[in-house]
Subunit: 216 residues, 2 copies
């Protein structure tokens, strides 16, 4: 069985993994992009999201590439899928990523509101899971087979899985920026009690990559 992983997850000097007031204009919350500024220039990101032009290679790019390796399924929180709240008014919202999302595997979206699966270009199918984080992970594991399940976020989703001790590996991309307000990753969680240990620290060009592994 593969691992359950979080990867390339941003963290600021003041402890936030997303800014406040997420919206259509600010998918990462206010000032949230400052946290992810290391990712946008990478070749991995540019080939995936931008105009297909090549980007920078180096440590940050290697870590970005590694985050996509061996991933058999994703789990996303509703907020990471989009800014729509409450019941789906229609089927028009298809995620932040256009016609071909960067997942290319079955992707399970946590929501309280049922919706039929949404098949996108490039192999991504969004499945909407209404019966909780455990059910979503079970379905993702089944879909992933021997590969890993990647928990994409957002912060609330990652925190829920952390609390339940379901995340095996957590790769944090630490940036010494200040958001001021936002969603705090560790607030009221005890990383040691949850079993995390430092596995790797890798200095990137624009952030510090810290890999935590759950032991015992």
């Amino acid at each position: 069985m593969g691992k359950v992983r979080v990867a390339c997850f941003g963290l600021t000097l003041d402890g936030f993994s997303a800014g406040a007031d997420q919206s259509l204009q600010n998918p990462l919350g206010v000032h949230g992009t400052e946290m992810m500024d290391w990712f946008f220039p990478t070749d991995v990101f540019r080939k995936m999201h931008a105009d297909g032009e090549s980007g920078e290679t180096g440590v940050d790019n290697d870590m970005a590439a590694r985050s996509f390796e061996n991933v058999g399924a994703w789990v996303l929180g509703r907020n990471m899928f989009g800014p729509v709240r409450g019941p789906w008014p229609d089927e028009s919202w298809k995620g932040w990523w256009g016609e071909e999302p960067p997942y290319h595997v079955p992707t399970f979206v946590l929501t309280h509101h049922a919706r039929k699966p949404l098949e996108m270009k490039g192999g991504t199918t969004f499945h909407f899971v209404t019966d909780g984080i455990h059910a979503a992970l079970e379905r993702a594991r089944a879909a992933a087979g021997n590969k890993d399940v990647r928990i994409g976020g957002g912060v609330s989703t990652v925190r829920q899985y952390l609390k339940e001790r379901l995340i095996d590996e957590l790769h944090i991309a630490f940036r010494p920026v200040l958001l001021g307000r936002g969603e705090a990753l560790w607030r009221d969680l005890d990383a040691r009690v949850l079993g995390y240990e430092l596995a790797e620290i890798i200095a990137g060009e624009r952030c510090t990559h810290v890999v935590l592994q759950r032991v015992g």
Copy 2:
């Protein structure tokens, strides 16, 4: 007039600047020394606290040395001065640092309980201030003259001065360790609203030095 500075202030990956349950055995709280492990091998620390043997030089040592430059007075919280709580039972507690503390200038200790000044070897005199953080800073500024006032800690003291926008420069020594529990530096503080901006990021041998400056 000099600056009001915090320097070499530890911060962990999970947002703590001290561990939980400070005590005589754990002046930095449980696991708190893991946060300061970059400081102990430096030449600055070894010459100051240890057996006088020389330690490592390099970036971390330079930043440690810089933290002591141009300091004309210190302000310390009661917990940073010692583990004694409530009224002073007697005059026997003289700080964590032995006969010759590493301050060498007037040092103002915040406390609710009056005590007469305590003159130590090497120029440090501890003055016990019972009328609050503003009074302590005023006295420290007067004592420092044109030099800087350094707010030594602990976390609660630094947070009180941050809230009142009284700290001009905050040098954080970030270490990607996990304490699990402890005193969170930024909890419920908004670093941007308080006016902080990134001034310097310097990769040390064992930690990342981040210097924040208050603008406007």
